[in-house]
Every structure is written in C-alpha cells, then in structure tokens.
C-alpha cells in the first residue's frame, strides 16, 4: 500500500502534536498548574495516529484515561483540550470533565473515560447506531492491555462479533496496568489471541511503527465499513512516563520497572523511526519536518497561553447540563 506524501506529513504533524502536547501537559502537571490525575501517552503516538489516519471525520472513536493522543489524532483542537485540562470554561467540557473526560462530538470523539474498559461497550453501541441509522461510519475503540481483562472486553467483542458491527478494537499493549506488569495479571502473552474467542480476526501490530499500524487499521476499517464485522488489533508499545504524572513522588524511582527497559524502548521511538524512514526514502526533506516541529511548537504555545488566559468556570455553572 503506497502512502502519499500529504498523508505522511499529516501523520508526522499528528505525532508531533501529541508528543509536544503530552510533554507540556506533563510539565504543567508536575508544576501543579493543572489539577487532577494526568496520564500521558509519550512513546505511544504511533498507534493513536496510525489508527485515526485510517478513519474519516464521520467515523467515531472511544478513548481511555490516557486519551490525549487519541483525541488529538482524531483532530481534537490544542486550545480547547489544553483549556479543559486546565479546568477552564473555554475547555471542551467547560471545565466539567478534565483530562480523563474530554469529548468532541463534532469530530466523532465520544470521549476519554475514567473507567477502565468502559469504552468498549460504548464503541460497540456507537457501531450499532451506524447500523440502525443505515450509515457506513466505523467506530475505533482504544483500550489498554489492562482493560482486556475486564468483563466489558469480553461482552463487547462477543456482541460486536455476533452482530457483525463496524467497530475496530485497538488494544494498546504498553506492558503495564498502573504499576502491575501485564504478564502477572494476564493469562496470555498476546491479547490478539483473544480474538479467537469471538471468531474474529486478531493481529499483533508493531505499535511503534505508525505505517504498520496504518496498514492494519486500513484493512480493519475497510472490513468493518463493508459489513464484515469487528477486528482486534493489538498494538505493542510502551509508555515512557509513569502511569500517572507525579507517581515518583509516592512510589520512588524505578519502583516497578528498570530504567534500562525504558531506555531500550526510547530507542524505538515512533517519531525517530518515522523520520528515519521518510528521510532515507527521500520522501520528505529535513526542512519539511523541521517546519512541522516549529509550527507545532508555536501552536502549542498559543494553546497554553489560551488556556492560561481563559477564565475559570463560574461556580453558578455547576448545575448546568445535568439534564438535556
């Protein structure tokens, strides 16, 4: 499958937006400039971007507590996202949701979710809605290796399989659920194997290779759109940062994984790999990449400034939007 230059540039910009956004949010959280629990996805950019690159605007996604990357990859705006994380009225959710609950219906982003495994039935229902409404929109469902042990994983994949719903289940296997190594709580080495329990395709994907993710995603999305039902994709990846920003304060350094392991994965950085690929292939020039990096930095600065200068919600807004 040949991937055009525009798409390559778009993927790169998308990964840069995520990397820079997450790094900045981490720093802001460490500096206590943003409240609440913050989970960042640095190192996992390729799966979010590779999957969403295979989707169109009317397609939908569900995300997780570690959702900034997914949302940005589906087109989420830096400003309303940053403002929401700051708890400002100009945020996507008017400050009511925060980092774990960002939603943008206009982009088909049904939302990050604070409950592990909660996105799977919601994505399944979103796919069901497409069938009911007679549309060919596809829903992509992001979740983690830890979530794959929740009952909702089982119930959702079975339901989507028997009803042949247009959904792509994307397990981002970063090897840990909080501070617990996946192997100690998961009975299989590869989550993709579990597809067999639903008689649907399951694939192990290099989650740090955005192009491989994109190829598998395109196939799964086409399958779903043409009414052949769900696919389970397992993107093997790794989170460079802690489970939650600031965990070192109460766990100490290296409490549950070796620095060497982290360093090894950093060598497999999805962004560096992509740069190497496109530069060696002569597809894209160094200057073009540079331009994207600096443009993104500027955009991010704007977003932070926007968030900082935005007003906090007025206490009187606390009772708005409980009911339609």
């Amino acid at each position: 499958m040949d991937i055009g230059k525009d798409l390559l540039l778009q993927m790169y910009r998308s990964m840069q937006r995520i990397r820079q956004f997450e790094s900045r949010v981490r720093d802001l959280a460490m500096a206590n400039e943003v409240p609440g629990f913050v989970h960042v996805s640095i190192g996992e950019e390729a799966s979010a971007v590779g999957i969403c690159a295979a989707l169109r605007k009317t397609d939908r996604i569900t995300s997780t507590h570690r959702g900034h990357g997914h949302l940005l990859a589906k087109g989420g705006g830096l400003k309303p996202m940053m403002a929401e994380i700051f708890g400002k009225r100009t945020g996507y959710c008017k400050g009511k949701g925060g980092s774990m609950h960002i939603v943008d219906f206009s982009l088909g982003i049904l939302g990050a979710n604070g409950i592990v495994g909660a996105g799977l039935p919601i994505a399944t229902g979103s796919a069901l809605a497409a069938v009911i409404a007679g549309r060919d929109d596809v829903t992509a469902c992001f979740f983690g290796d830890g979530a794959s042990n929740e009952g909702t994983f089982h119930e959702s994949l079975n339901l989507a399989a028997v009803w042949k719903l247009p959904v792509v289940f994307v397990c981002e296997n970063n090897g840990f659920g909080e501070f617990t190594p996946m192997a100690t709580v998961t009975s299989v080495k590869d989550i993709a194997v579990r597809a067999q329990a639903y008689d649907i395709p399951g694939h192990i994907v290099d989650g740090n290779d955005v192009l491989e993710v994109y190829r598998y995603a395109s196939e799964a999305v086409a399958r779903a759109r043409s009414g052949q039902g769900p696919t389970l994709l397992e993107c093997k990846t790794y989170r460079w940062e802690g489970h939650v920003v600031g965990e070192q304060a109460f766990l100490g350094e290296g409490a549950y994984r070796e620095t060497a392991e982290i360093e090894a994965w950093k060598k497999r950085c999805p962004i560096l790999r992509f740069e190497k690929f496109v530069l060696e292939g002569g597809k894209i020039t160094h200057g073009e990449l540079e331009k994207i990096v600096t443009e993104t930095q500027a955009d991010l600065e704007e977003a932070v400034a926007f968030a900082r200068s935005s007003a906090l919600p007025d206490p009187s807004e606390v009772t708005d939007d409980v009911f339609a």
Binding site: R60, F105, N113, A118, P121, I122, L128, T152, V162, V322
Partner: protein
C-alpha cells in the same frame, strides 16, 4: 376507551413510539419472544434490525445502549429484572448518568431502560428487589414507577421521547391489572404526581404497586370517616414536591408507602423532604411503610411478612391519624 392491562400498555407505547421514530430500537434478552409479553410481536412490525435479542451480557448491551444513544439513536433497552442492573451499574451510574454533564452538555443520552421489579411471589432475593432507591442518588437519571396501565402508557411514551436516560420500573405483580387506557398519543409528563384519591385527614404517598394496596385501605377507612388522600408521585426523579407538600399542608399528616427497604430507601428520601419543607404543616411524624430490611425471602409466608401489606398500611395510617 379500550381496556388494557399493564403489559399491553407497555407493548402499545413501544409500538407507537417505534412507529413514530425510525431511530428508536429495542434491545434486551429475549425481547423477541418476550417472557412477560411486553414486547411480543414487535419483531413482526419492525424487523430484526430494530428488535434485537442480546447475549446475556448486561454490562455489554447496556453500555452499547449508551454508545448508541450518544451516536444519535434512541434505544429502548430492557433489563429483564431490576436486580440485573447490578451487572451493568457502571454503565448506568458512571456512563449514562454522567456523560452529558462531564462533556459539558455535548452528549445527548436518549435511552429508555425498562425492567421488572418487586416481589411477585416466590422469586426470592435476587429477583424481587425494587432497586430504584439505589439510582436516586445518581444525578442524571430519571426514575419512573407507573402504578397502572394508563400511567404506564403515558409515562413510557414520555420516557422514550425524553433526551435523558430514564429508567421505567414495571412491577412484576401488576401484569394483569386492567383499566381504560387512552389510545394514540397519550402522554403523561415526567415530574407530575397524580392524586389517585382526594382526602383531608392524611396524605398517603404510595409508590408503584403500593398505590392499589393503599387505595383499598383508603376505601376501607373512608367508611369510618378517615379521609385519606392518596398521592402517586409517578416519577421519583423528577419529583413533584409541590403536589406532595401542598397535600401535607392540607392534611398535616403524611405516610409513605413503598415496597423498597426502610434504610436508605425511597421512603426515607420522601420523608426527609416532607419533614424538612413541610415541618410547619406536620402534626405527626412522617411514618414509613416499607419492606423489612432483609433480602426478600422465597417462602410465601416469609415474603408476605417482608413486604408491606394492607394491614401494615392501615395500621400506619391509623397511628398517624390518631396522633
């Protein structure tokens, strides 16, 4: 007007609303054949795309209803027995109820949940709970407890048209209860109580299946000149506080009759409201007639002892009027 029973009223309401809106659909365990009959025959009218038997996977299909609602359709989701909601509590309490608020008002959540609740004779503890009390403290949900066929039709139709998650509780013991039910577009608004019987000595607020029991008691006491005003809130959320309080203002006495439990139940919630906002009206404490605080037992004499009967309702009203 045609006589319909409680189950037929449900069936008619769903059929009318599904005919009205092609984005409305029905899902749940065995909704095609329908053990209780509420959804019987709908498959023939609306086909397999809009009438779906689900796997036995409450979290999965209730959560799917949430996703389907957010994605622009209007699911009617049946959870056979109210206590099976326990298998999908996150989907109802953390997702359906909260996502609109958490998204700053972006999400619409037009879901109607239906379930059978209450003691129906030897169904035992896991199939006899009322459960609605456990949804009362979850902001974002609407709770509907119809006491008869006409209210059932009008309230269920309003629930299906509502853009919020609404849970409709159908009492397992009322299935054959018959009354005249208006045909066609008969809507009962959510949040309006119904005065089932006017009276002046005491206000009896009765919920769901307790309404007919309380009316029988009121009938009996009337012969002795004790005039009982029987109010059916019909919806617990939104609650028609005004109707209840103005009745208490008139009678100065209140008794709550609910099949739920005493501790933490809907009766406690209503009693607290009356005792606070109606404090100056009250000449007697607000009595509660509820199920005993035990799991509902299987054996008939035990089940009968556990849930409110006419004798206990009568005694409570007499005691309250006597003070």
């Amino acid at each position: 007007m045609p006589q319909l029973n409680y189950i037929q009223a449900i069936n008619q309401a769903i059929e009318e609303e599904m005919a009205r809106d092609p984005l409305t659909f029905l899902m749940g365990e065995d909704v095609v054949l329908s053990a209780f009959g509420a959804t019987k025959g709908l498959i023939n009218k609306f086909g397999a795309t809009r009438v779906r038997n689900t796997p036995i996977a409450e979290a999965g299909f209730v959560g799917a209803a949430v996703g389907a609602a957010m994605a622009g359709t209007r699911p009617i989701c049946e959870v056979e027995f109210a206590s099976f909601f326990y298998c999908a509590f996150d989907q109802v309490c953390n997702q359906a109820a909260k996502l609109r608020y958490m998204s700053g008002g972006q999400a619409l959540m037009p879901i109607t949940f239906r379930c059978v609740y209450g003691a129906m004779g030897g169904a035992a503890a896991q199939h006899s709970e009322t459960v609605y009390a456990q949804f009362l403290s979850v902001p974002g949900l609407k709770l509907v407890v119809p006491s008869g066929p006409a209210d059932m039709k009008g309230l269920l139709k309003s629930a299906i048209r509502d853009d919020n998650p609404v849970i409709v509780f159908e009492h397992g013991g009322l299935g054959r209860l018959k009354e005249e039910v208006p045909g066609g577009d008969y809507l009962v608004p959510l949040g309006k109580a119904s005065i089932k019987r006017a009276g002046k000595n005491v206000t009896a607020v009765a919920i769901g299946a307790m309404v007919s029991k309380t009316l029988k008691v009121a009938e009996k006491l009337a012969k002795e000149g004790i005039s009982v005003e029987v109010i059916d809130p019909r919806t617990l959320i939104p609650l028609d506080e005004e109707a209840i309080l103005s009745s208490v203002e008139k009678t100065n006495r209140a008794v709550i009759i609910d099949e739920g439990h005493l501790r933490g139940g809907a009766a406690a919630d209503l009693a607290a409201i009356i005792a606070e906002k109606g404090f100056d009206y009250l000449d007697a404490p607000v009595k509660r007639v509820t199920a005993l605080d035990v799991p509902i037992p299987f054996s008939p004499p035990l089940e009968k002892a556990a849930i409110p009967d006419e004798a206990r309702i009568e005694a409570a009203i007499r005691e309250t009027v006597g003070r």
